[in-house]
Subunit: 309 residues, 2 copies
């Protein structure tokens, strides 16, 4: 089947389970990029459902999971990773036989196991778009969220290649660059590039807010010295992040151990007045920033462009 422009549609009817930042961004992006696709959705929160209704995000906003997945050839779970199993169980009896089942969770090994346990025999292709903002809820989503961001698929070795290709095409239409990776490797890479940074940011923002010697007001007032950069990701959804740390526990603890070792080395350099070691370390980190900007994964403007210089 093709859309109005005569292009092949990777899927005809897509069901989104969960309409937070990511679910609602998929809906908005698909509306723009794949207008021929029928969009259906369900969220376990009645409040979110009514807000999503007002936003007119999808064609059918279902009152129960069964209605959402009826006849869908792609079902995407967009819920915190700790809620995947229950969400999957709720649609299990109603899933179409040919449906591709996917998700957007930030840990992939544990989520794949949760989906397999709840949906035995289903065609499961886990996925993770590396995109987001610190905001949550259906109002926070927008159509450009996945533009030029990577989306990692972690199919099992024996997964149907056609299903992988169609899911890749779907994400490609939404603007993402798609990569296929082993689930375990994904979980290690993301522990470094996302989970550890969030843990550090949550920690330091908490530390700064409950020092006895410095008031919270002072921390807020003088935050432009660097602290404010950490507060953005530390404002991310607490349930989502609680689940990620519990779910990807081993990889997170592993990279945290490496970080603590390096921090201890720099602490010793400061304590011992070893300026050369500090200088060498700080010189190397500049190159990483340049490479990230060069690869299009961040803006080149100083101060993230927020000073309007």
């Amino acid at each position: 089947m093709t859309d109005e422009a005569g292009e092949d549609l990777p899927f005809q009817r897509v069901a989104l389970i969960g309409l937070g930042l990511i679910g609602s961004s998929i809906a908005r992006s698909a509306r723009e990029a794949l207008p021929g696709v029928e969009l259906r959705a369900y969220d376990s929160s009645a409040d979110v459902r009514s807000r999503a209704e007002r936003l007119e995000l999808v064609d059918v906003l279902a009152d129960d999971p069964a209605e959402a997945v009826a006849g869908a050839d792609l079902v995407i779970f967009c819920v915190p990773v700790g809620a995947m199993a229950e969400a999957a169980r709720s649609v299990a009896p109603h899933l179409a036989a040919n449906a591709v089942v996917s998700d957007v969770g930030s840990s992939k090994g544990p989520v794949a196991n949760a989906l397999k346990g709840a949906l035995p025999g289903a065609l499961i292709i886990p996925a993770h778009p590396i995109a987001g903002t610190e905001n949550s809820g259906p109002e926070a989503g927008f159509a450009g969220l996945f533009n030029n961001r990577w989306c990692i698929l972690t199919p099992d070795q024996d997964a149907d290649p056609d299903a992988v290709a169609r899911l890749s095409a779907f994400w490609g239409k939404l603007g993402a660059r798609v990569e296929v990776m082993d689930a375990g490797r994904h979980d290690l890479v993301l522990a470094v590039t996302s989970h550890l940074p969030h843990l550090i940011a949550f920690t330091i923002v908490g530390t700064a807010s409950h020092l006895e010697a410095v008031t919270e007001g002072e921390v807020i007032k003088y935050s432009a010295g660097g602290f404010r950069d950490f507060t953005r990701i530390a404002a991310s959804d607490p349930v989502m992040w609680r689940d990620i740390f519990l779910s990807n526990r081993e990889a997170v603890l592993d990279v945290l151990g490496r970080f603590l070792g390096d921090l201890s080395q720099l602490e010793q350099a400061i304590r011992g007045g070893n300026g050369e070691e500090l200088f060498d370390w700080f010189s190397r980190t500049r190159a990483i920033r340049r490479a990230i900007v060069y690869e299009g994964q961040d803006v080149a403007a100083p101060d993230f462009g927020r000073t309007g210089s």
Copy 2:
């Protein structure tokens, strides 16, 4: 004396020693806000001097420190904190008797001592504008850098109130909000709001770049998951930051200890599967972000506004 608009000028002739990001931003801001003030400058790097010449940042770009400070009633040292003593010594014989001496260093107790040692009897009012970007050099400066940012003055208790008032007026004209604080308190507050965040950012960017199990290419590619936020301040000037950590050593090690204690607590929560503790911690940190945005110390747009959503 008044400028063309008939306003009082806090100073008639301002000498900037050092023309990096901050020195050149003071020059550009003063050009716009205080056109009646004569600006003179010197930088110990001949290369920086010739680049500054091309940028036409000041009225007199001096070839030696003596020429820069001749007849100046305000001299501001805009060099890394470890270079303050030498810079001050170089101007000592040429300083006008009525000159107010200030600086822009990120640690204040040690810098005050360095300036006092090099310039006995001078009228020293240390200062620190809480503003900057990750870029360095005279080209990186811009006129709006101090708009709505705090500038902290740390005069001694017996400092001349008129000199404090004039320096406050100068920074006010440049767009800054001025606060007067004890030097020791400044160094503790900045250890929390700026120095610890930079240390953490330098560390984690280094950690991520030399893991054996994850390549640097993967870290760069998937950095939009959170890591890229840390790379901005980890791209800051290595000499400046080496000097800050060595100069404000005790306060930095103190707050680092608090941070490590908190991190260890969250590590135990992850290890023990204590979701409630994680959720509680992550819920509190959201409020800090909101307060920083409310106080005008960061932009409200999601993702620092860089996604253009």
